[in-house]
Symmetry: D2
Subunit: 296 residues, 4 copies
């Protein structure tokens, strides 16, 4: 049975890891807050490790699912880090929505230790993770991917090889950048219509039957903005980070990208104004505040 | 039988007018290029008028479908204009993608002559017009709308009352502004990915299964950009105009709208660079030129 | 002796009017808050009128100096308005920082009554007004300007004919738009340097000896930002309005102007956040808040 | 006598090096195109070295003045590079307009070899270099600066310690970013005025007496744009690079900076359109092309 180590039992990581629990694999988990790891172990039959190093010592494949590439670098290094524990031949699959430059640096470091690296961010949200219906975007060696594909298929229904290391990160970030641009621009448009006397609900109905529709207009605004529900499912801080990554890819590739860069700056400002706990859809509240109108 | 005058037999107007041809209504058409009107009349049993004034003299309802509000004002005024021909009690339904300020001015002028005005831009494209499946966005008096609804239902499957005069224009412009923002930002993102080694086709597949999807990613890019087909179905000049209208609504309503305003300026520059005949999707070529890569 | 009516005794208007007081001219003043007009009259020997109409009945030249073109239109119309009082042959010189479109509309209305109109916004601030050292930017008929030049030279040391009606407004707005762009971009740059460990004062010294210098870096930042003085000399609300006018001129002239439009949206947002009383330099506080640093 | 090595005899470097020629110092020069170094040596009494390594073997202080940090890293590494030649205790003063991140990396590498590093970009242009009137912005250890100050004062009239390594680069980049923003925004404003019938020359005269003035309005536009001279003194490619550095500093410091980022993207696009040889002021031609007007 494949021996899997899973690090990071957050909102997405936990349901992903659950699909890998015994008898599917021999699973060891680690989480910064160890109570979470212990509870998970008690519930699923997985083992809980005290440190990243201990978690990976017997692993064939290591999966990380952390807030950002910074945390990935943190769990790799140090006396209790992954690098101190992984044997040659292990594969590290990083499901973090990471940044390509860090992923490339990490991959180079790991290669020196005989460990292969794949960046493998996922999309599909908590519900996709629970239903084992995630899309997994892979950057790295295609033959390494084939070795770990059976493990990834435990939680991913679509596993896509995107290109060299960092490609998965890049694609994930661009998808999320589109989400961010759609959210912000739609809020501007609906705020203007609301002040001009057009009902946002009616406007969304028309747009959703027309050429201006997007996932944001079809799902997020009706369910979360019109209802004033603003559930906290995906932190603004993380979308701001993803948008920053996409904007960075565009600059690194010398692509003139005024829309992405502007969106990135606006989200940065909104993130500062709304704080670390705000949900990504709450950026709408900043546009509403500036416009002095509610989209409802 | 209702007597209808239809002015403007362009790409959208012609199939709309066809649904109103005898025996459905007593139809008189006018077009700036009179040969088009004569050919239409010969084909459909409608009458062709030599001037706007003649077209509307016996009409209960007058429908205009012109490139912009400027042309609407032009056909209204003057010795041969609509105003010289319309009787009190006539309703003017303007299916032009117009601007709210001009529509309000026109409505005020017509009101003095006892003529009611509705702005009524449509969405659904040539194919929607042919299948009588257009969405019609109405601004103006709701009771006037009820009087003309049977006529509009000849080409419109969804007829929505949006609010006071100008509301239909405002909503149409915001929908098209979203289209414009989606096109431009997606081109930036895909250009960056292409240069980073990620296939645009693969990227679109992933985005279309994820939170960044839009009508542009699902339809326009696969069919028109990846294929390099760039069919000329909707002129960039018109989308630039619509985006400018949406940006103007936002400013008039004092909505801080950096994304809409930036998009408007970028489309203005692209319009100048690509000329009057370019299709709206061809803006992608400007982003490609600046990025020195092809999204294919 | 020339008979002058002066309407609008604000921060700039009051010292301007003072240069026209007897014995220089026969002066009648009007102000929305009549106490100000009465105090001015008592101090200077001018007459105070109860209404705009009364103020201008015996005037050869009427000077308006109001917050915006909206107030100019308000004092012109109505039973007690300027138009009800001015005789044919009067010249209206509007020193408001107005918008060209309204000025053209006003000029057309006045022309029907035999009154000539010049837009004549001024620069130089309160101190320039006190020292009779204003620059006056004139739009309108050059021969009309020559008739009133002796009067304008009472407060203006540089009187420039810019072009047709609205040209003075356009030029004034572009000057102020540059001021706005310089303020905002310098605050961004200095906030970044401050966080990177470079003293803003030292940075300003270097910039002021180099190619990046501007009136903002040479005067406003050292005197008002580094000192945290932020004196209230020119309201942000007015600079926001001026920037909006410049952005409107650029759009009306079909000039792709992403920088001006973005600046206009940022100032709009800052104006909403800071309120009606804030000074224009206080926009720096918004950039500081978003950056979480003080430029000091 | 101090032994100085000078690498990079470009437009600025050459006149700088000249001030260090014998008898002022014992000077060895190196240039990628060796003919330039040989000619310089013949003219000044300096020695010309065949490689960076040879140039620095006997040097107390090494000065680099190259197009960008990339070239600095290139001359440092390799068998013939600086690092292979410099003795412990040497100081490397990099007068390149570099980027802070690279400078910090270079400084760390050199520190391991016992070589101190100062980033020391200059402003003042060719004429400032010729007149020994440059401003030198220093990042790095202040005590190291004091050791080399006598050498730097050969070409620099103002030598400013800005902060830790990278501070000089950061400040230089922000100064140049201001220049870039001023150029672009002024071109937008003057293009709008020109189309509105206001003479750009007259507009500049007024702005230069008012609050919107900048080095660009006072010097660059009158001398280079109105005259259509567009002399090639400072390449657009380099200003684009500098603006990108400033934008990068702002992002690294988490400063929401929509104006700097937008300017950076516009310059990137203009750089692509105008090519590698264009002068920085030629960006005005892009704004003119988009506006279809000449600022003259």
């Amino acid at each position: 049975m494949t021996r899997v180590a899973f690090l990071g039992l957050g909102a997405i990581g936990r349901p992903m890891a659950k699909h890998l629990a015994p008898p599917r694999s021999t699973l060891t988990v680690w989480n910064r807050t160890s109570a979470k790891a212990n509870a998970f172990a008690a519930e699923t039959g997985a083992a809980a490790a005290a440190t990243p190093r201990q978690a990976v010592q017997a692993a064939d494949i290591v999966i990380t699912c952390l807030p950002s590439s910074r945390e990935v670098e943190e769990v790799i290094g140090g006396a209790d880090g992954l690098l101190a524990g992984m044997r040659r031949g292990t594969v590290l699959v990083d499901c973090t929505s990471g940044d390509p430059a860090t992923s490339r640096r990490v991959a180079a470091t790991l290669a020196d230790a005989g460990v292969a690296f794949l960046d493998a961010p996922v999309s599909g949200g908590v519900s996709g993770a629970e239903r084992a219906a995630l899309t997994v975007m892979i950057g790295g060696d295609a033959t390494v991917l084939e070795r770990v594909r059976p493990v990834l298929s435990a939680f991913g229904s679509t596993i896509v090889h995107c290109g060299p290391v960092g490609s998965g990160d890049a694609l994930k970030s661009v998808n999320n950048a589109m989400l961010a641009v759609h959210l912000w621009s739609l809020a501007e448009g609906l705020a203007a219509l609301a002040k001009a006397g057009v009902s946002p609900r009616l406007a969304l109905d028309v747009i959703n039957a027309s050429s201006g529709r997007s996932n944001s207009s079809q799902n997020l605004f009706p369910e979360r903005v019109l209802s004033r529900a603003f559930p906290r499912t995906f932190r603004l801080a993380l979308l701001d980070k993803d948008l920053g990554i996409a904007a960075g890819v565009a600059r690194e590739q010398k692509v003139a990208s005024p829309m992405l860069q502007l969106a990135s700056e606006l989200f940065r400002a909104a993130h500062t104004e709304l704080g670390e706990d705000a949900d990504h859809v709450e950026v709408v509240k900043i546009i509403e505040r500036w416009a002095q109108v509610e989209i409802a």
